[in-house]
Symmetry: C2
Subunit: 327 residues, 2 copies
């Protein structure tokens, strides 16, 4: 009997790295392993750790490694399989990750950045199943996005497609890390919501009206300890300041999505990340605002992601699967 | 010797209809013909006129009709080859144009809307040659747009992709025909520029400062006679009001383009339509504003269209060409 084929999915996630094996066409991992970078680790450390993880899995599960899919947490030139850099870990600059893995593990490799790969994961295994085109957005500390069009990742000419986070929805609004103001990210993501909350509560932590009192209590009385999660919780408990901040964040995201619907008319929009746990009112405002900004003939559904933090790993599996003749 | 193959390109342009024949792979028309709808013509008249034009061309140029490409000036369900409606001519609602032409002329047919087809025309024969992805925008009385991604039209799930004209760049700005305010179309296209100019000049046509005096003179002293072309001319002649209006229009378009670069990262943006004849300063402001809104890693060129009003007809030829085995 022929040796069975195996696919390897790798997720380089900043400081947490995951490798998983699966049999083509199956929807459960055969085995997986994780490694965390110690403080001060660099790109070389990450690469050695991942190779070791992968080889360990392969040693325990005999079979023919047919293909490898890779999600990388940073900008990637997917066409050449080269990591441009990591925003978190030094030493990744211009790393030919595809070729190194191909040499080290002896199978064909496809690499893309985590937002694109997560989009593919949701499309193939999660909330995007059965649709032809989707925009995936992760709304977390920051905002990331990726496109699947006609069943394939659309990376753009420079691997930058999906950067909805830096589209301006409130000109003159909150300052963004990109240097502009009023971007989706500054108005709608975790750091943006927290920054607004801190500014509104005042640096000294005092609050003279009822608005914000609940939020401030959740942060132990210290405005600079406020997080987006506390804003969502305080909003759910009736805090008016927190509610207004969360509403504004949902509307900013919805405006950005509405513009994306006009431009690309995807069939579905899949939203993941911690901020999407902010409750039914947040979802309602995102959907209503997107609809108000989009032309009525665009009919995209806006739905929650299915795969959570595993989306990049499942997407890496889908990338590997794309080498198989049956796919 | 085998009969030579012919391709037929059809452009249904509101009230002007064009049919053209070409030999696959060539860049010049073998023959073409035009028809104009009389007042009161409906979809049935247009269809009969175009069939008659096409049959006339085919009768004079013997050969085997291999394929037909069609540009239609209105919303189209490209997948089914069905015209949804015409905004200008009654009787087009849900017309199965692909099937009717296929039956009437005996060759395979591809149909899409004019902005998408013009995008394909510029990609194959005009300013988009040699690139993998482009956004085409026509900035004329209104704003239209179309995508070519990986060498194919991207129409979106409902045939609505490319509607950059209805993305909001100035919340609370000029009222748009779509019901929103501050859309690219209301801020940057011909009717939008003219409407702003008329409002600024005042309904009574009087103007107490030097600003706008030149513009008003061009309109024969009647503010309600001002057109976008007059605004461009007055701006070129130093009229401060006209200059400010044109600058604002260029910046609004640039902001819309910058957001599209972040979202899709196309390799090139091709701009056509009458407003793009507004001079070098207009182009400079469009490019600068787009760059300021886009992340620095997106490197799209923003270039003038090559094909002018013929872009839809050339795109229709490219659609027909896509049926040929060599393409």
């Amino acid at each position: 009997m022929a040796e069975s084929s195996l696919l390897l999915a790798l997720d380089y996630g900043g400081t947490k790295h995951t490798a998983a094996l699966l049999i083509p066409g199956e929807r459960a991992w055969l085995a997986h392993g994780r490694a965390s970078s110690p403080p001060g680790a660099d790109g070389a450390w990450d690469q050695a750790a991942m190779l070791s993880l992968a080889r360990g899995l392969l040693a325990r599960h005999p079979g023919r490694l047919a293909a490898i899919g890779v999600s990388f947490g940073g900008p990637v030139d997917a066409g050449r399989g080269v990591v441009r850099l990591s925003h978190h870990v030094p030493g990744w600059e211009e790393t030919p990750l595809r070729d190194r893995l191909q040499t080290g593990l002896g199978a064909p490799v496809a690499v893309d950045n985590d937002a694109n790969v997560a989009a593919l994961g949701e499309w193939r295994f999660g909330a995007g199943q059965g649709c032809d085109s989707l925009l995936y957005i992760t709304v977390s500390t920051g905002v990331g996005g990726g496109w699947v069009l006609g069943g394939r990742i659309w990376s753009g000419a420079d691997g930058m497609a999906g950067e909805i986070g830096h589209n301006v929805v409130r000109p003159g609004g909150a300052p963004c890390v990109c240097g502009k103001a009023g971007c989706v990210e500054a108005e709608a993501c975790g750091w943006g919501i927290a920054a607004k909350a801190r500014a509104r509560l005042g640096d000294d932590g005092r609050r003279t009206t009822d608005d914000g009192a609940r939020l401030l209590a959740l942060a132990g009385g210290r405005a600079d300890g406020v997080t987006a999660q506390m804003v969502a919780q305080a909003a759910a408990e009736g805090d008016a300041l927190a509610g207004a901040l969360l509403d504004g964040a949902a509307e900013a995201l919805g405006a950005g999505i509405g513009a994306a619907l006009n431009l690309m008319n995807p069939q579905r929009v899949v939203l993941g990340g911690g901020i999407t746990k902010s409750g039914e009112r947040w979802w309602q405002l995102v959907r209503e605002t997107a609809r108000a900004h989009a032309l009525p003939q665009t009919r995209a559904e806006i739905v929650p992601a299915d795969l959570g933090d595993d989306a990049p790993l499942w997407g890496a599996a889908a990338l590997a699967q794309s080498f198989m003749p049956s796919s």
